[in-house]
């Protein structure tokens, strides 16, 4: 029986407007009668209709730093969601055992890091693109994910190497003519600053090496569900406590991201005028502190939830993998390729 029998307890009825019992007058006020209500102060009973005639509408393209940071955070999280969807597709790499993928990736990155031959690096890079295609990863999306990091992590640091100041060699482009006896402090500079062929090749090799390594790592993350990546780290003897911690961190990042979004939207909905930068910064600092306190409180409760279900500190992880023939083929292929790259890099095999 539902609790509808309150119906039968339906007691007092019906008071017309104007009756001065406190309860009913309160009720009438909420319905829109704006006179003589003792609960609502006078200023709250005023209603403004429409914007003031002096209002101007300005359209600004520039976002505040808080808004920009939060937008970027959510773009990142949305990309993570997209990644999860890619990991569920039926493609080449998705069909492989995650342990094979993790071990193969580490091996390949090691071999690529030792390789100096730009042709071999180009071949391996093209192989990663083919793997991406066969794993149903959109090539445009894949290239964007990889190359967005390359200028940051390798391009900028390789810029000096291009010049004859650091890599002497055949001039490719003349940048500046300094004349004889040019100095930068105690350092002597060449009379003509040029970008050299040798320097360009070193920079290109380095960038391609980084791009190939990043491509392998991105492929692993795109084609493997996050929990399986963490669990497969156990096969590399990573301690259980780190695996569990990483797994839980990943899970709760999303929860706290939602909390942060809530803070921001709540503030936005009540922001009548824009605040000075210092006030915005104070607000961000305050919310960071609050999020930390909330995270600590939640961590205690999560620990209680774990204890309640029998957790005693001994971490148990269920991983039931089944190795197929294709996993052996993939493992042997990557292993052979990596050995070949290492042998070539050590001049033990000539090509």
């Amino acid at each position: 029986m539902l609790f509808n029998y309150w119906i039968s307890l339906y007691i007092i009825i019906v008071t017309p407007f104007g009756v001065q019992s406190p309860t009913s007058s309160c009720f009438l006020g909420t319905l829109g009668c704006r006179t003589g209500n003792p609960m609502i102060p006078d200023w709250m009973q005023k209603i403004e209709i429409g914007p003031c005639s002096c209002c101007t509408v300005s359209i600004g393209k520039k976002k505040g730093f808080v808004q920009k940071a939060i937008s970027d955070l959510f773009t990142f999280l949305e990309e993570c969601m997209v990644n999860d969807a890619i990991a569920q597709r039926k493609g080449l790499l998705q069909s492989l055992d995650p342990r094979v993928k993790v071990v193969s990736m580490i091996l390949l990155i090691f071999a690529v890091a030792m390789t100096h031959d730009i042709r071999l690096l180009a071949i391996v890079y093209v192989l990663t693109l083919i793997c991406a295609y066969l794993s149903k990863v959109e090539i445009g999306f894949f290239l964007k994910r990889v190359w967005v990091f390359i200028p940051i992590f390798s391009g900028i640091i390789m810029i000096p190497i291009l010049f004859n100041v650091f890599t002497p060699g055949d001039a490719l482009v003349t940048v500046a003519t300094l004349g004889p006896n040019a100095h930068l402090g105690p350092f002597a500079l060449p009379s003509v600053i040029t970008i050299t062929v040798q320097g360009t090749m070193v920079a290109l090799t380095f960038v391609l090496r980084v791009a190939t390594c990043v491509s392998s790592a991105v492929l692993l993350f795109l084609t493997t569900p996050r929990d399986l990546i963490f669990k497969s780290l156990r096969s590399l003897k990573v301690p259980k406590v780190y695996v569990l911690t990483m797994d839980m961190c990943y899970r709760y990042i999303f929860l706290f991201a939602d909390t942060v979004r809530g803070f921001y939207t709540a503030k936005k909905s009540r922001s009548i005028k824009s605040l000075p930068l210092i006030e915005e910064q104070k607000w961000v600092g305050n919310r960071i502190g609050y999020t930390l306190v909330k995270a600590l409180s939640m961590s205690e409760k999560v620990h209680q939830a774990m204890i309640s279900r029998g957790f005693t500190g001994d971490i148990k992880i269920l991983h039931r993998y089944s190795i197929h023939q294709r996993d052996y083929v993939a493992c042997v292929s990557v292993f052979a390729l990596s050995i070949f790259l290492i042998l070539v890099s050590q001049n033990l095999v000539k090509i």
Binding site: W6, I13, P16, A305, S308, G310, L318
Partner: protein
């Protein structure tokens, strides 16, 4: 019936200042279905937390399954057979599903309990699959908790408890945030579990579900003491008691030109008849 939980003059105070429970003396028997009713902040969740040996009374005595419950038994690094027995025996559904769902996929979440029981991997797999099938959540098995709706999270929380097959279920606001269909689903699950002989203790202020899932009702007042402990029908029929405990309130509202007032529970939508008077 065997007494499973026994509280004698139990009190709990947060940070030595704020009372959460005062002088509570209660006992729960195996196979009983009990509702703990109280307004927000009355101490229902604290009481459940004490019953699950997650929080310990600041004064008074609490024993479970004939053994006194002490912090030294549970919060120790040493493996403790009684603590393992207790955790196996008692399942706790937390009010906030995000606290309870700490694994990265639904499957892992449900497998967590059986793994803690040291069951062989095949048995863990089988149990997890069976609970997933029982609660009809096959479509969620590979999903991450942050990708579930409120109702789905609640289902997974319940599945994660049932996979260890506890005999005692402690439920903290189980219908909170659920849509009507999910509420009915949950009530039916709890009724089936009650028929199977499980002890179910539910903390709630949703009076709509009380009679459907329990036979006994305990009212915790806003003064953090136990006001009444008797059968559901008597508690729900005692309007003064429910008003005093802030579980119902006098409510006035209007339908078109009709203005009327009736008692109202702190829950969902409600049906009621309308008086004949007309607002002019």
């Amino acid at each position: 019936m065997e007494t499973i939980f026994d509280l004698r003059d139990v009190s709990y105070t947060y940070i030595k200042r704020f009372d959460a429970l005062k002088n509570v003396t209660l006992s729960f028997k195996a196979g009983e279905q009990t509702a703990i009713l109280g307004a927000n902040g009355s101490g229902k969740s604290t009481l459940l937390s004490i019953l699950n040996a997650l929080t310990y009374p600041t004064s008074g005595e609490f024993s479970a399954f004939g053994m006194p419950i002490k912090e030294e038994i549970f919060d120790t690094l040493e493996d403790n057979e009684y603590a393992r027995f207790f955790r196996k025996k008692v399942g706790f559904l937390f009010q906030n599903p995000d606290i309870q769902l700490f694994s990265s996929t639904v499957f892992d979440e449900i497998a967590f309990g059986p793994l803690q029981l040291d069951l062989p991997p095949d048995e863990v797999q089988k149990r997890t699959e069976e609970v997933i099938a029982m609660l009809e959540i096959e479509n969620l098995r590979t999903r991450a908790p942050h990708m579930l709706s409120g109702g789905e999270k609640k289902k997974v929380c319940i599945a994660s408890i049932l996979s260890t097959n506890p005999d005692v279920l402690l439920l903290d606001e189980p219908t909170g945030g659920l849509d009507p269909r999910s509420q009915i689903w949950l009530i039916e699950v709890l009724q089936d579990l009650a028929k199977a002989g499980k002890t179910i203790i539910t903390a709630t202020h949703d009076l709509d579900i009380v009679e459907q899932i329990s036979t006994r009702a305990i009212v915790v007042g806003e003064d953090h003491t136990i006001h009444v402990d008797c059968d559901c029908a008597s508690v729900l029929g005692n309007l003064d008691l429910l008003m005093a405990a802030n579980l119902i309130h006098r409510h006035m509202h209007r339908h078109g030109k009709l203005l009327h007032e009736h008692l109202h529970a702190h829950s969902q939508e409600h049906d009621h008849e309308h008086g004949s008077s007309v607002v002019e």
